[in-house]
Symmetry: C2
Subunit: 378 residues, 2 copies
């Protein structure tokens, strides 16, 4: 098990969370063969940095790749990778499960995370499942109602008063000191878990483009690493073009990419309906920038209006996602994709988690006695 | 394609919704072989009354069977069939998909359903997916907030003023007259879709008992028919003992079963937190009663207190379900199951759908500067 820094190149034999230079560390590329097996954890057994605790799996991963008609008007073949059907209804479960497998084997009794949304629920759920205590550090603004979906699993919810943005780094430092294993957004084991999305896509099709809602950068890095490892292992020929998608109101990575900067800067006054991807200073931002440049990939940002329109169009195909998950579809119009291109968009989390953001549809009233005419109408 | 009445035995070659005698009709038993295939629809191709429209599938079915520790204190081997990871986050999608496949092939342009909850969302979603119009008849008491998760998919939501209990039958009659295909709770195609739950369980283990939250009776009938067909086809040796579980506050089937009656009677003043299984006059109630007696199966009812306790215990294993879905676990203590028995409990729908029913957990506050002591505490 070797970790190396994506920037200074320093290597580590211990499972550190970040490099001394401040940038994320990552496991060296895996290579191997696929196996017969029921789950993605079994089929890609050679590709994980730790033995997955299969007995404690909740069935994360192995999500459907759904054919979409939304690409027809653009002349592309569009597929939706539906991560909303994970055990806590977001992609986070893949990474949480793998990182929790590490935490358990490493002997930790307590894990933590810094999140108010999908990741908070995921870590709370898996900690209970694994028999570990959880400290879930949430922001001051998180509503009690929203936090029900976190505390219900039994994790201890702690509302932090102060600069929530600093907490990512402070939690890692304090966790190390106290023996609490923090599974934050780009924890190296977590990132490895997301590779399964690339593996499963590649089992079904050879995509030309993959659209990835991007916030901390952990999901983007994981999917990228997955495809790269498949290519290095001789299992696929070409890498797809990965496209990081951000909300215009909080797009530090796209901005730095556009401006040719090597490092991201904090995005002041972030404001977007896509709360799940509104990290103003993404901890893997520089690492994503580097990948985009190295492989000639792209970054696209979309407006709230475009996001809500895309959310509605996805629902019209039977898939109700949170606003952040609709950004990939919102980005389609802004890209000039070649005729017939195979395109996958990642749907990251369930719309049930952000029901408050949805406008109520029109509801007609109908007295039972007038049922016939009510059914005839429209 | 032959349908027959479960009570009077009359057979039909046309896809009628119910028998003239008022009882449900059901497809004659299928038999066949399993095939190699990715989805349950492909693997059990011989067992469906209509060719599933696989191109329009949203990936319903093929849900995880999760090993649970909750059975340990009772000395049983407990498994949880997690139906909350279906495309609209309940088991309803299996039946909706199959019934919608029929509606499309039969040339219907409009479908309908009578539901305020899981089935309403499911039919609304799949109708959009299939390019059909949907008329979703909801009860007067359904909140606008809750109905967002239905209307978001584009189905037309119609609030019925009047006796909602009569609507099941009136909708079938009116639908037939107007060419609107109603996919209600025990539509014969819908029931067939639920067989997949039995098929998938049997692919993994041979259960001794299966606990099924029971309301209209459609789910119970589907799972029963699935296991029976497997046995008739020589694919399993023994049928499991199926256990219908109801909420004490609305348990018309258990009451009739206990009292030795051949037919259910309307359960007056139903009152339970398990809203998803609170049908006071279940349209397949008599059919479930008949199955229970014929095979020596059981009916168990549980209190709201027991349901909430079970919901909490499931969350402590990482699975957050709606109250109705926790009834199977609540029933465990009331059954005297033999040591080592293999028991499956069906988790029917996501807890996110009933977040209002969950008590908020305790939330601590912690100033950032005191992070260390906050993380140390308990």
């Amino acid at each position: 098990m070797h970790l190396f820094c994506l920037f200074c190149g320093k290597t580590y034999d211990e499972p550190v969370q970040r490099c001394e230079c401040g940038e994320p560390v990552e496991f060296e590329p895996f290579s191997g063969e696929p196996y017969i097996g029921k789950t993605v954890w079994e089929r890609f057994y050679d590709f994980w940095p730790v033995e997955p605790e299969l007995e404690l799996s909740l069935g994360e991963g192995d999500t459907p790749l759904v054919r979409s008609k939304l690409g027809n008007e653009l002349g592309i073949r569009l597929y939706l990778k539906n991560e909303t059907v994970n055990p806590t209804w977001s992609f986070k479960d893949r990474g949480t499960f793998l990182a929790m497998s590490h935490a358990l084997k490493a002997g930790y009794k307590t894990v933590g995370t810094v999140s108010t949304g999908n990741m908070a629920a995921s870590v709370s759920a898996y900690a209970s499942r694994f028999g570990l205590k959880a400290k879930i550090l949430v922001s001051q603004s998180a509503s009690d109602e929203k936090l029900k979906a976190v505390s219900v699993y039994g994790g201890e919810v702690i509302r932090i008063l102060g600069d929530y943005g600093r907490l990512y780094f402070e939690s890692l430092a304090m966790g190390e000191k106290l023996g609490v294993y923090f599974i934050n957004s780009d924890n190296p084991f977590r990132v490895e878990g997301y590779k399964g999305i690339a593996f499963e896509i590649a089992e079904e099709i050879s995509p030309d483009y993959v659209l990835i809602p991007t916030s901390s950068g952990g999901l983007f890095r994981g999917i990228a690493k997955g495809f790269i490892e498949l290519q290095e292992s001789g299992l696929i020929d070409d890498l797809p073009t990965l496209i990081a998608v951000q909300a215009e109101g909080c797009s530090p990575i796209c901005r730095a990419f556009r401006e040719g900067k090597a490092r991201i800067e904090r995005f002041e006054n972030p404001k977007t309906i896509a709360k799940a991807i509104a990290n103003p200073y993404p901890p893997s931002g520089n690492a994503v920038l580097k990948l985009l440049r190295e492989f000639g990939w792209k970054c696209v940002s979309v407006s709230d209006e475009e996001i809500l329109e895309a959310q509605k169009r996805l629902a019209g195909e039977g898939l109700f996602v949170q606003p952040a998950s609709a950004t990939g579809i919102a980005a389609l119009k802004k890209l000039e994709l070649p005729e017939g291109a195979r395109v996958v968009s990642i749907l990251t989390g369930s719309g049930l988690k952000t029901l408050g953001d949805v406008q109520a549809g029109e509801i007609r009233e109908c007295p039972l006695g007038r049922l016939e005419s009510c059914l005839k109408g429209a």
